[in-house]
Amino acid sequence: MIDISVISKVRKVIFWVAVSAVTLFGVIAIISFVLSSGVLKKPLQYPKVVPEIRLNPGERKVFEFESFCLDHSRGGPRSTDAYSLMSTPAMKLRPYLRDIFDEYLSHPSRWNQSDVQQAVWYTEGRTKWETLSPEQRKLIQSATGKEDPASGHPVIFLSRMASAFGVVVKTNLFLALIFLGLVVLTLPSPFAVIERGISWMVGPRLVQKLSQSRFGQALNTLAANKGLESLRIHTDVLFTRLVFRLFSRRR
């Protein structure tokens, strides 16, 4: 049986979480708007340099493009990988990337492609300013107007940390959630197993509180659900019958 009071509580929680999120993002948006309203935006030069591509139906044109790698940690593309010309969100999301490309396209004869590539990788936050050549530093300074702009930039720091830890966090959290679900779905008294698993991290009082709480009881109730029990038994019976039939034929 589902407790109606729980549903109304969940509704309230969802409502207040949504209101808090909207307020937080709204306040940040207002602060950003106030801070950015007085600042003059540097006009981009590259739309003047890059040709506009328009094709009539059935028409074919050949263009040559220079390409740059945006992610230093990824492997090189294979010969069979398809290339497609498209805009990338990195241009908007990664700080200083647009400025570097704009500087290069505005003065292509002044900068080397390899220096531009190093500058692009520098915006990932993995390359130290000291390891760059004077020419590469000059390019970054001319593009951004700052010396070592990536140092201490929170967006670059976050993306660097996310690329290093993102996979690990995602895998570990999924693993914990999935195995927690498996314990609940497949063991007769799941909270005893869950308790033994977390007892090393939290105090015995908290474990006791958890087991007596609605959450603990709900897990045990879910595990004892008749439908679930019948699913477990039927799967086992089906598998056993299949094996018995296989071995009866052999004999």
Binding site: I28, A164, A176, L182, G197, R232
Partner: protein, 177 residues
């Protein structure tokens, strides 16, 4: 800086906080998750087939999503074939050696050992990934190999146990007549 840049700049501080919480949680939860894996896998009581099938699906999902992440692009190109090969190996060995299966065992230690090897390799590979070690192809192949053996042996061992029970029942029935 424009509106978008400042908006992203402020939001990234919150992002750093959330990522920090995620890192702490993932470090704290990986150990109970490992205990839950060993317990649900090794116990020979209750609905074993249902449990092992779900664990197998979970192991396949986690291993595949981990190796399919962009961080390992091109690192281990033959991992699906490796998984299939080791899965078959893990399935065949317990089925062909069902004569040594003991039905009175409460826990399956072999499965617990293989699952602990799978877990250790996963944590080791994650540590290498975080430390920025450039080459971990050997670890990745070992990891997917162990994942294949684990999944194959889960089904193989369960099949061997069920078949052994059938043989024991048939022998008992024949002895009774």
């Amino acid at each position: 800086m424009g509106f978008t840049e400042i908006y992203g700049y402020i939001l990234s501080y919150f992002g750093i906080g959330f990522l920090g919480i995620g890192i702490l949680l993932s470090i704290g939860l990986i150990i109970p998750a490992c205990y839950w894996l060993f317990t649900s896998l090794a116990v020979n009581k209750g609905s074993v087939v249902f449990r092992r099938m779900l664990v197998m699906l979970a192991v396949i999902y986690i291993s595949f999503s981990y190796l399919g992440s962009p961080a390992f692009y091109e690192a281990a190109g033959w991992w699906k074939i490796t998984f299939l090969g080791t899965f078959i190996l893990g399935f065949i060995v317990p089925v062909f050696r069902m004569d040594i299966v003991r039905l009175d065992r409460r826990r399956d230690r072999g499965l617990a050992w293989i699952s602990s090897a799978w877990w250790i390799l996963l944590v080791f590979s994650e540590a290498l990934l975080v430390s920025g070690a450039p080459h971990q192809v050997v670890v990745l192949y070992l990891f997917i190999g162990i994942a294949g053996i684990l999944c194959g042996s889960m089904i193989g061992t369960t099949l061997a146990q069920t078949a052994r029970r059938k043989i024991a029942e048939s022998a008992q029935a024949a002895g009774g007549q």
